[in-house]
Amino acid sequence: MAKQNWLLLILIVLLALLPLSESRFYIFLGTDILIMGLFAVSLNLMLGYTGLVSFGQAAYFGIGAYTCALLMKKASVAFPFAFVAAPIAGAAGALVIGFFCIRLTQIYFAMLTLAFSQIVWAIVFKWNSLTGGDTGLIGINFPEYLDSSARFYYFTLGVVVLSLYLLRQIVNSPFGRMLTTIRENPERTEFIGINVKLFQLIAFMISGSFAAISGALFGIFNHSLFPDLLYWPQSAEVLIMSILGGMYSFFGPLVGAAVMLYLRMAVTSKTQYWPLIMGTILALLLFFFPGGILGFLKDLRIFAKWKR
C-alpha cells in the first residue's frame, strides 16, 4: 500500500509539472483527461464497487455543468459558489432519480437510469429560454484568476486529486466495503441486517455529485455547453472508459479515460472514422481482456508470481 502511495505522489508531481512543457496541446489534453477521468471514476463507484450498471450517468454530468454555468451566467453568482452548487445539485438529482431506480434490478435498473437521463436531456434540450436548447449555452467566462489554460489546469488537477482522494477514502471505508459486499451478494447482505437499498441510494448520490463536479469543470473548460452532453451515447462512452481501464480497480477508469482520449486525439487527426476504431477496440477488449487494462496488468503480475 505504501509503495502505491509513493507512486501516486510521483504521478501527481509529474502531472503538476506538465504545464512547464508550455505545450497548449498537452495542457488541453491533460485537463480533458482529468475531467473525464473523474467522471469515469464516479461512475465506477456504482459499476465496479456496488455492481449497479447505470446507463444514465451523463445526466449528473449535465446537471453539474448546467448548474454551475447557469448560476454564473444568468444569476451572476460568483464562481466558487456556483462551483460548489454543482455537486449539491448533482446529489439532489441523484437522490430523486436513485429513489426510483434502486427498486429495480439488473437490466431494468439500467433502462430506468437511461429513461431518467433522457428526461433530463429532453428538458435541457427543450427549455430554450433557460438553457439555450439546441444552440447551447455559450460564452461561459472563466473567473479572471483562472483565465489561462495553465492556471485552469492546476485548478482542475487540484479539484480532481482532492475528489479522487475523497472517493478513495470512501471506497476503503467500512461503507465502501459494504458496497462491495452488496455487489457480491445482495441477498445475503440483506440477511445480516443491512439496508441494501439505502446503501445503494447513498452510493448513487455520491456518484452523482462527483459526476456533477466533473461536469461543472467541463463546462467552464469548454466555455460552452450543449445538450448533447446529456444524450445517452455520452453515458455509454463513460461506461466504455471504465471497462477499458478496468472496472474492478479504483484507478482503472482514470487509465481508461486517459487512453481513450489520447487515442481519440491521435486518431481523429488522421481519419474521421474514430467510432469504427473505438468499436473494434471495445469488442476486442470484451473478448480478450474483460478486466480492462489494469485487470490485465494485475493478471500478469499474479501469473508471474505463480510461475515463481
Binding site: 450498471v53 426510483f100 427498486r103 429495480l104 439488473q106 437490466i107 431494468y108 439500467a110 433502462m111 430506468l112 437511461l114 429513461a115 431518467f116 433522457q118 428526461i119 429532453a122 428538458i123 434540450f125 427543450k126 445517452w232 451515447p233 455509454a236 461506461l239 466504455i240 471497462i243 472514422y273 467510432p275 469504427l276 473505438m278 468499436g279 473494434t280 471495445l282 469488442a283 470484451l286 473478448f287 474483460p290
Partner: protein
C-alpha cells in the same frame, strides 16, 4: 407500424436470448441503405423495389445470424453488461462502415409505382403506401402469433424464454435456436428499414435515433411480450402525435416520463411477465 416491426424483433431477441441488442437500430439503418443500393442496381427490372426489400432484409438476417454465431454466442456465459457493450460496439462499427460506403448525405428511394396514390377514408386522404404498411404489419403480427402459439417451433421458442437449461437437457439444440431467433429478429429490423426507405430520408444517425424509440416501445409494452410490443408502438405513436398537437415543447419529455413511470410501476411492462429468477 415501423416501430412495431423493429421493436418486435428486439423484443423477440430479448425474450429468448435475454440480450438487449443495441445494434438493432444499426440493422434497421443498413436495411434502409441496402434497399437504396439494390433499387438503384435493379432500376430496370419490374417491381425492383420489392426485390430490393426482399434482398436487403434477407442480407440483414444473414449478417445478424453470422454475428450471433461468431461473436455474441461466446458472450452468453459472461455478465449482461458485456453483451450490452458488445452490441454497442457493433453500433459504432456498423455506423462507420455505413458512412464509408454510402457517405453522409441524404439518400432516398422512390415509392413503388403501385402505391403512389392516396386513398380517401372518412373524407381524409391517406397515402396508399402507409396503408399498405399498416396491413403488412398486422399480417406479420398475425403470422408470428400463429407460429408462436400454434406450432411446435413456437412452443420450443416459448419454452426457451422460460427455462433454457431445461430445454437444452430435453434434447433441443438451444444454440441453434438462439441463432435462428437472432436471425429472425435481425430480419425484422432489416425489413423495417427497407420498408421505411421510401418515406423517410436515409441518413447516418438514424440508427441511434430509432433504437431509443424502440427501447421505449418494448419497455412500455413489456420486454419479450409480443402483444405488449404492439400496444407499446401504438401508445408511443399516439403520445408523439397528440403530444405535438397539445404541448409541442413537452412531447419528448413526456415520452421519457411515460417510460420511467412504466418502469417504476411495472418494470416488466404493461403486458409482460416478470423475469424468472
Amino acid at each position: 407500424m415501423f416501430l412495431f416491426l423493429i421493436a418486435s424483433g428486439l423484443s423477440l431477441i430479448f425474450g429468448i436470448l435475454r440480450v438487449l441488442n443495441f445494434a438493432h437500430g444499426s440493422f434497421y439503418m443498413v436495411g434502409a441503405y441496402l434497399t437504396y443500393q439494390f433499387t438503384s442496381q435493379f432500376i430496370q427490372a419490374p417491381a425492383h423495389f420489392w426485390l430490393a426489400v426482399l434482398l436487403s432484409s434477407i442480407s440483414i438476417a444473414v449478417i445478424g445470424g453470422v454475428i450471433e454465431r461468431l461473436f455474441l454466442s461466446r458472450l452468453y456465459i459472461r455478465e449482461e453488461l458485456n453483451q450490452l457493450l458488445f452490441t454497442y460496439s457493433l453500433v459504432m462499427i456498423i455506423g462507420d462502415f455505413a458512412k464509408i460506403i454510402w457517405g453522409t448525405g441524404h439518400l432516398s428511394v422512390s415509392r413503388p409505382a403501385i402505391f403512389k396514390g392516396a386513398v380517401q377514408i372518412f373524407g381524409q386522404f391517406f397515402p396508399e403506401y402507409n396503408i399498405f404498411i399498416i396491413i403488412l404489419g398486422l399480417g406479420i403480427a398475425f403470422i408470428f402469433w400463429v407460429v408462436l402459439n400454434r406450432t411446435r417451433w413456437g412452443r420450443i421458442i416459448r419454452a426457451a424464454a422460460l427455462d433454457r437449461e431445461m430445454l437444452g437437457s430435453l434434447g433441443v439444440n438451444v444454440k441453434l435456436l438462439f441463432t435462428i431467433v437472432f436471425t429472425i429478429g435481425a430480419w425484422l429490423a432489416g425489413l423495417g428499414g427497407a420498408l421505411v426507405s421510401p418515406i423517410a430520408a436515409i441518413v447516418p444517425g438514424m440508427d441511434v435515433e430509432i433504437i431509443i424509440n424502440v427501447f421505449i416501445v418494448v419497455v412500455i409494452g413489456g420486454l419479450g411480450s409480443f402483444w405488449g410490443t404492439l400496444l407499446g408502438a401504438l401508445v408511443l405513436g399516439q403520445v408523439i402525435s397528440f403530444g405535438i398537437l397539445i404541448l409541442p415543447r413537452l412531447a419528448i419529455v413526456f415520452i421519457y416520463v411515460l417510460m420511467a413511470v412504466v418502469l417504476i410501476i411495472r418494470p416488466w411492462g404493461l403486458l409482460g411477465r416478470p423475469l424468472p429468477r
